[in-house]
């Protein structure tokens, strides 16, 4: 995680009259949301958030509705003006940027995909995708050539001359994705992009994002309220509640060691064997374990270890960077699976 792409420090967004005073006031800023609303009529949607997003990472912000995640992602490009704090992008604070700088940032560095697509109904798919390029002054030939490339990339070839209302929801979101990609930004922000789509289309689109991430290696900040989506896409996941960070870590961390009861409740229905790695169930090497027992890496997902363990007559050794750290056996795997069944 050398030189993070985006670095957020002490970020606040307070809605309501006189909201700008609250972050600086130690008494008010420590109040809980309900009390704050009662006392000041203000609503702190984002409170004192700190996190870094590494280059090329898929960083997921997860929370229930009203947790402030959509506000947070809008603060990154100041679509909503943050109250205080800093957002460093390439070492420069977005909050200090002037109008022109901010516009340049939006045009070239960070683009966004929206829940309700936000397509321009009077423009064709081609013109929608090339909109950002047009805005920054690209010539017609240039922007159409680039846009056709992108349209093919997001799987809309043949639909260039269609209008948004002739497309299904999933296809419309492909246009939204294409529009965000066309400007070749370093970072793409996703605001619950697939919540409005039905489950099958959503799965396709998630796969699409994973594919695009592999092909293009863009940094992605992805907001969702869907835990399985977060676990599927996120390199790291930040869980928000009432505008605050509750826990930030890999999916593995969240499920394996939830920071509090809130997170534990959240992840209780996750099939643990699909998410956790062997390191969470490793026992000390037993005395009866033979030295030539099969060896698995500590990073292996538990479900993937099942065939090896079941086929082995003795416990299986677990190694982490060349060192044997312990062993697992049938019981330890079954205990993970059983606990999931019970929770479900």
């Amino acid at each position: 995680m050398s030189s993070p792409d985006i670095s957020v420090r002490n970020l606040w967004k307070v809605f309501g009259p006189g909201g700008e005073k609250i972050p600086k006031n130690p008494e008010l800023s420590s109040l809980a949301s309900a009390e704050l609303l009662e006392r000041t009529g203000c609503n702190a949607a984002v409170r004192d958030m700190n996190f870094d997003v590494a280059k090329g990472e898929v960083f997921v912000v997860m929370g229930l509705s009203g947790s402030g995640k959509s506000t947070l992602i809008r603060c990154l490009t100041r679509l909503i003006e943050p109250t205080s704090g800093s957002v460093l992008v390439d070492g420069k604070d977005v909050l200090d940027a002037g109008t022109t700088e901010l516009r340049e940032l939006r045009r070239r560095k960070m683009s966004m995909v929206f829940q309700h697509f936000g397509l321009l109904p009077h423009r064709t798919v081609l013109d929608n995708v090339s909109y950002g390029l047009q805005i920054r002054g690209a010539s017609k030939n240039e922007r159409y050539a680039k846009s056709r490339e992108i349209i093919e990339l997001v799987g809309l070839k043949g639909y260039e001359q269609h209008f948004p209302d002739q497309l299904s929801g999933g296809m419309q979101q492909r246009v939204g994705l294409g529009r965000a990609l066309a400007g070749d930004p370093d970072t793409i922000l996703f605001d619950e992009p697939f919540s409005a789509l039905d489950p099958l289309i959503r799965r396709d689109m998630q796969a699409e994002v994973i594919r695009l991430h592999k092909e293009m290696g863009k940094t992605m900040v992805f907001v969702t309220h869907d835990l399985s989506e977060a676990l599927k896409l996120g390199d790291r996941i930040l869980i928000m509640r009432n505008g605050e960070t509750v826990q930030c870590g890999t999916g593995d961390d969240l499920v394996g060691s939830p920071a509090d009861k809130y997170i534990a409740d959240f992840v209780s229905e996750v099939p643990r064997a699909d998410v956790l790695t062997l390191k969470w169930i490793t026992d000390p090497v037993g005395s009866g374990t033979p030295g030539d027992a099969p060896v698995l890496s500590a990073g292996t997902i538990i479900r993937d270890a099942i065939p090896t363990v079941m086929n082995s007559s003795c416990p299986v050794l677990v190694e982490d960077s060349g060192k044997i750290t312990g062993q697992i056996d049938r019981d330890s795997i079954l205990s993970v699976i059983r606990s999931t069944e019970v929770a479900a």
Binding site: T71, R106, Q115, L120, I135, R179, G183, L189
Partner: protein, 677 residues
């Protein structure tokens, strides 16, 4: 004309959370009841005293000094610098544009020579334009209508009216679209413009005319200026509305790509608002036609003048003939601009049946034909002036005249008894209640009512309006107008509720009624007088009936929309708990549509007031009569001007009172705002 709902600030403020709202409401009812009792008691003991009656030919000092001002303006017009450098050049500029169009389509400025383009060319050219901005159907409609004007013997008059409407709409576009865009972009501009527009909307068409004639003389220039004042507000409103109401997510998406303000305007707001703006042009055009015909009172040439002259001589045949032309012109203008707005819809391009290329070819070919027609009409006499042997106007006039006479004699039993029953039964008693109550008592009653409805603020506004009317010396006339207005509005509300509920409850009724109401709303105010003049003769009653018919469509539509907007879930819940249809209407639909009903009453009042005033042309008394008399007799000019102002104050008074009645008593609940936007 615009029926856009204005944002209304709730008038009542402090309401304690602890006190239930019901108590507050009962206080309101108590005060209103007390005012009513006070009024009736006062009327019983004091009626006929201090009524401030002013006979028709008498003047107050204020009227005389306004007359003197009129004379002063007339004698100083030539050398006063304000006139020399501001008003007169402005007037000649407007005049020259108007003359350009009238000279092209109707007649040269002297009225003796033929127009630049004769009738054949005009028909061809206008139809082609209709085809180009709309579609082939409206093109044919235009051709048929303009040919029909010729057959009616009214081609020149119709062309005059059209030319003036064109001039006024052109100026309206020049002023309205930039202002609308500005007001859509900037909240501050909108804050300044909106109250001005609200105010302009409650002014009855009639009252612009006298002051404008004073400054700009009678004639086309004043007519055009008055028309622009009347026609531009809906355009500004709709343009601003279109620019402002871009879907939030689209706007945000465009912002996230780094658009500048100008880029946002050009690539997003204007294209998306295009349809709304063209709808504004439609409303503006219909308003312009309505006003241009009324401007006949200050010597605007055209169909309006034919109607005015016919109304004054009670020549029903001629009035109907010219009225028919106005209706036709209204239909043509409405259809063409509506077709244009359909064309402006996003995505309209791909729904067309013929390809863009074949359309262009068709347009080019027909343009050649049109140019030939124009050339013909400039060289051949038969194509320049509409052939006299094809003029069926006199036949229509005498036919309608005879029919009207037949109706009046043979239906008199019905029409006269209907008229007399209503006049003697409701109108006269109510009018004498208003005119014979001592003015101080009535002022007190109105103030108490105003306080009950809207607190001190409304009472203050009301007091100022009433004081102004008294100062203008027209209290009694104002009460006559008020009586007619209130009676007509009551009828309008009954119609509004009956038909509105029927439309709101049944899609079928809605589908049948709505086109009729839409058509009714596009007709110029004037035209409504004509058929009722034929039925009821020249009386106040005719004006009231015309006012009711003029205002009913608005009230019905607003009520119907209010009823239809109630969520189906609520209706389902009501029906599933076993309510009868009557219970659903009285317990659920009408209470939930209360705001719409109040708005319907508000708009109904404004429309009725406008019409009752215009009704002076067919014998309604009151302020409208004073205004008309002021146009005709220079010695009554001052009184007419004062009457115009009194109408304005009456309008403001009625508007504010109904708005306050519509506003909810505020129930303050600490609202937890949604976190995001």
């Amino acid at each position: 004309m615009s029926t856009l709902v204005r944002d209304r600030a709730p008038v009542q403020t402090s309401a304690n959370t602890l006190r239930p709202p019901r108590k507050r409401l009962s206080r309101r009812v108590l005060l209103l009841g007390a005012a009513g009792v006070l009024w009736l008691l006062g009327f019983l003991f004091l009626h006929g005293t201090s009524t401030l009656t002013l006979p028709a030919s008498e003047l107050t000092d204020l009227h005389r000094s306004l007359n003197q001002f009129n004379a002063w303006v007339a004698s100083n017009r030539a050398d006063n610098p304000v006139f020399q450098y501001v008003f007169t050049p402005f007037r000649s500029a407007v005049d020259s544009v108007a003359n350009l169009f009238t000279g092209t389509f109707a007649a040269s400025s002297t009225g003796l020579r033929l127009p630049e383009i004769g009738w054949l060319g005009t028909v061809g050219l206008l139809s082609w334009i209709a085809f180009a901005v709309g579609n082939a159907r409206v093109g044919l409609l235009t051709a048929a209508a303009f040919t029909f004007f010729g057959l009616q013997g009214l081609f020149t008059e119709a062309a005059y009216t059209f030319a003036l409407v064109l001039t006024a709409v052109l100026f309206s576009l020049l002023i309205g679209i930039p202002l609308g865009v500005l007001s859509g972009i900037s909240g501050r501009v909108s804050q300044v413009i909106t109250p001005v527009l609200d105010f302009m909307q409650i002014l009855p068409t009639f009252v612009y005319l006298a002051p404008l004639a004073l400054i700009f003389l009678i004639g086309p220039a004043s007519a055009v200026i008055a028309t622009v004042i009347y026609a531009v507000p809906p355009l500004i409103r709709l343009t601003a509305h279109g620019i402002r109401n871009i879907p939030e997510n689209t706007r945000e998406a465009s912002d996230s790509l780094g658009t500048t303000g100008l880029q946002r305007l050009l690539t997003l707001q204007l294209p998306l608002a295009r349809r709304t703006i063209v709808m504004g042009v439609n409303q503006s055009t219909m308003a312009a036609l309505s006003m241009v015909t009324i401007a006949a009172l200050i010597a605007a040439p055209g169909l309006g003048q034919v109607v005015v002259r016919a109304l004054q001589s009670l020549d029903v045949g001629t009035a109907v003939n010219a009225g028919l032309s106005i209706v036709l012109l209204a239909i043509v203008l409405d259809r063409v601009t509506t077709a244009a707005s359909r064309r402006a819809e996003p995505g309209a391009a791909r729904k067309r049946r013929i390809s863009r290329r074949s359309r262009y070819i068709l347009l080019a070919v027909s343009l050649v034909v049109v140019l030939v027609m124009v050339q013909l009409s400039r060289t051949m006499l038969w194509a320049a002036a509409f052939p006299k042997n094809l003029n069926f106007g006199p036949d229509i006039v005498s036919g309608v005249g005879a029919a009207s006479e037949w109706l009046q004699t043979n239906l008199s039993l019905f029409t006269v008894s209907f008229r007399e029953a209503l006049t003697n039964g409701i109108l006269n008693p109510f009018q004498s209640l208003l005119t014979e109550t001592p003015f101080y008592l009535l002022v007190a009653v109105v103030l108490v009512a105003a306080y009950a409805l809207g607190g001190w603020k409304l009472a203050l506004v009301t007091a100022s309006c009433l004081a102004a009317i008294i100062y203008l010396g027209l209290w009694s006339d104002a009460m006559v107008t008020l009586a007619s207005t209130l009676v007509a509005t009551a009828v309008v509300m009954v119609l509004g509720i009956i038909f509105g509920v029927a439309m709101g409850r049944s899609n079928k009724v809605d589908q049948i009624m709505r086109p009729m109401l839409d058509a009714g709303q596009t007709m110029p105010a004037f035209v409504y007088l004509v058929p009722f003049l034929g039925l009821f003769g020249a009386t106040r009653f005719t004006a009231i009936v015309a006012g009711i018919i003029y205002a009913a469509p608005v009230a019905i539509k607003i009520t119907a929309d209010g009823i239809a907007a109630i969520s189906p879930t609520v209706m389902e819940a009501a029906v599933s708990s076993g309510s009868t249809p009557w219970q659903v209407i009285t317990k659920v639909q009408l209470p939930m549509a209360r705001k719409s009903l109040a708005l319907a009453a508000n708009q109904g009042l404004i429309y009725v007031l406008a019409m009752v005033v215009v009704g002076a042309l067919v014998g309604a008394g009151g302020l409208g009569y004073d205004v008309v008399a002021g146009f005709v007799q220079s010695s009554l000019f001052g009184k007419g001007l004062a009457a115009g102002l009194a109408i304005v104050f009456l309008g403001i008074l009625l508007d504010r009172m109904t708005q306050a009645a519509a506003a909810d008593p505020v129930r303050k609940i600490r609202s937890a705002k949604s976190s995001a936007h």
